[in-house]
Symmetry: C2
Subunit: 401 residues, 2 copies
């Protein structure tokens, strides 16, 4: 082929956004930078020693099938462990309705394949999770956005959008949403279920952070209010380790059947050795105790970040007070540019993610995502102080221009 | 939702074949059955002890990043090891042009996403690899089949099909093809390159078995003859272990760029812990020696199968004599049904895969795939004798009906 213009690429990739975060992080890799930009769990809490013991146990056995091809659905005892964890939250999930995926990201890809025809409406939150936008984009839906309020998705607007656009999927993160840190109130969850009930659509409840709660009371899953129309996405990336890429989908029988075919075509099955390793870890260790230690640490760090914000930011900068998860959301005064703040912040050696990639068709927004899971309280204090200085410069520039 | 008829599934999944092999294997799981149906590498040769040592080494270090999120492209030192293995075959591959995937099956999915618009022509061999048919089907191409000859793909017919249909991809397995065991001659490879050169298309050379050669001389990759238009798929599933799902794609820069976006949307990255484990295994052990022992065993088993076929099958049953890989291909006399033979064989407690799923629009074929990698020579002798008995019954029935 002579020129790249002749490469017969498919049209479906044309509109898929590159990872803005990935691009932006390239400028934020200097060790001098205090970064609130990432979305990583804190590696200090990875159960390295415990996994070492499990790997040792698993590989000193004589069962060579731990290294063989395996079934597409995933290792049944692992799916039973997942079902059992749901049961303890009062949710009755049959292990046969659980499909092991490569992180919940693959769940999004499989759902896109199984549900989205070009032009179908897909409802998402605004600001919304970039990974879902990327995964679904490939299948060319029409995204319909519904803004978040402090109580979760704006149910009045959601009702209008559902009635006007007939979405086939509503993609929602009710707990400690990425990027905003907002959680749906119990009332919002009930209303979401009422809006969707009986319609030809599914709610996709993505819940990567639900277990990482450090304040407030646990809320019901949307599955509680709308069991037949809720598809659940889960992951061990935030509670055990991300490297394993161990996620899952919970879906009704007919949906599961198609997801399994799509999964088989996509990669036959998820890494079976790691499934067995994770299963052993869950069988031999107290994951709830481990999750409690993660929640405690993230809670301290979130608290430190909020306290520092209150000390160092001008009062007109708004922020969310997440009850769990890994992110907090800043809203600068109207008209101030998060991208410009990013440039100023980098000069102060502090990084965050400007809100831009979490919106559709907005190129200059005044919101910012701050991650608190990966920085200790000292760095949080220093980083937020520096960010406060950058905000001051931004406002100064804003006024003088 | 009241009825499954209301589930708003996407049309793209409608035509995707279920795994016929998966379905058929459900009847072949009895321990009394000698199965030539599977497509598994022989687990007795998995380097369990070596991987145990590597896991121990990896997990006793203090680098917790082995359990963290990682980059989409894959662990660079692992990609360098892959490039180095190509270099020893005289192929110059830049590690930056290698993307780590979840088995080569994911490579097929990503290529489908990046290249196939609905209705695009995709050229495949007949009989062809079921996994590729499944993966590509999701993107709704028009499959154009070209028959195999004992020398590889029929280049005369391939030329006609390429000129008539302008395929965007030609999916080929030049070494020890699945299902046929056939290898392309050097001349066929040269001709394939000549046919495709300069056209707006890529050749996808899938090479899962290339290293497992037990007779004959290694041939050049199609990449040698057509570097700019050849995309390579590789895997460690047959040379190390399948459970890890470690495959890769080699593609030119512009293609790689899109594949990385598609991979990121699909699952962010492949299991990073296992990438590190595999890298350590390749660094610390002699994989060529290991591959030589696999090739030796499979060679002995293939030889035993061919010898048994010559003893127990009627002379009019044709079969291929593979120089490597895991499969051998039977052709029954014209008009005899492989499906009917399957039923008779199961009664004799021996299983294989009838050729049906490897064709398009043929429902009753006279060909069969036999796997020789997973049965020892005693079982091969017994199983082939029983299969010979079933063939006799088939021919008897065939005559009497």
């Amino acid at each position: 082929m002579n020129a790249s213009t002749h490469i017969p690429f498919a049209r479906r990739m044309d509109g898929v956004p590159r990872s803005f975060i990935r691009e932006i992080l390239k400028v934020a890799i200097s060790p001098d930078i205090i970064s609130f930009a990432g979305g990583l769990p804190n590696k200090d809490l990875f159960p390295l020693e415990e996994l070492h013991e499990c790997a040792d146990l698993l590989l000193s056995g004589s069962d060579r099938n731990i290294l063989q091809y395996a079934n597409t659905e995933g290792y049944l005892p692992l799916r039973e462990q997942i079902a059992e964890r749901y049961a303890r939250k009062g949710m009755v999930i049959n292990p046969n309705n659980i499909l092991i995926t490569n992180g919940s990201q693959q769940g999004l890809d499989l759902l896109g394949k199984v549900f989205i025809n070009e032009g179908d409406a897909v409802l998402i939150e605004e600001p919304g999770y970039l990974g879902a936008i990327q995964a679904f984009s490939i299948f060319k839906p029409e995204f319909c956005t519904v803004p978040l309020t402090p109580d979760g998705i704006d149910t009045e607007k959601m009702k209008q959008v559902v009635e006007a656009t007939h979405p086939i999927l509503a993609y929602l993160i009710p707990n400690f949403q990425n990027p905003s840190g907002i959680s749906y109130t119990e009332d919002t969850r009930r209303k979401v279920a009422d809006i969707c009930r009986g319609k030809s659509m599914f709610v996709v409840e993505d819940d990567p952070y639900g277990d990482i709660r450090f304040s407030g009371e646990p809320k019901h899953s949307l599955h509680h209010y709308l069991p037949e129309q809720t598809i659940l996405l889960g992951t061990f990336s935030k509670t055990v380790v991300p490297a394993f890429r161990m996620g899952w989908i919970v879906a009704p029988d007919e949906v599961m059947e198609r997801l399994v075919i799509a999964k088989q075509a996509a990669d036959l099955h998820t890494d079976y050795f790691t499934q067995r390793l994770l299963h052993l870890y869950l069988a031999n260790y107290d994951i709830d105790k481990h999750i409690a230690s993660i929640s405690k640490l993230y809670g301290e760090q979130a608290e430190a970040m909020i306290a520092a914000i209150e000390r160092h930011f001008p009062a007109e900068v708004q922020f969310t007070r997440p009850e769990g998860g890994m992110f907090l959301w800043l809203t600068l005064p109207e008209g101030q540019s998060a991208m410009r703040l990013f440039d100023l912040a980098i000069r102060e050696n502090v990084a965050f993610v400007p809100g831009n990639p979490f919106y559709f068709g907005k190129t200059d927004v005044n919101t910012c995502r701050l991650n608190f899971s990966c920085s200790n309280v000292q760095d949080i204090e220093i980083g937020i102080r520096k960010l406060g200085k950058a905000i001051e410069q931004l406002q100064h520039k804003h006024i003088t221009i």
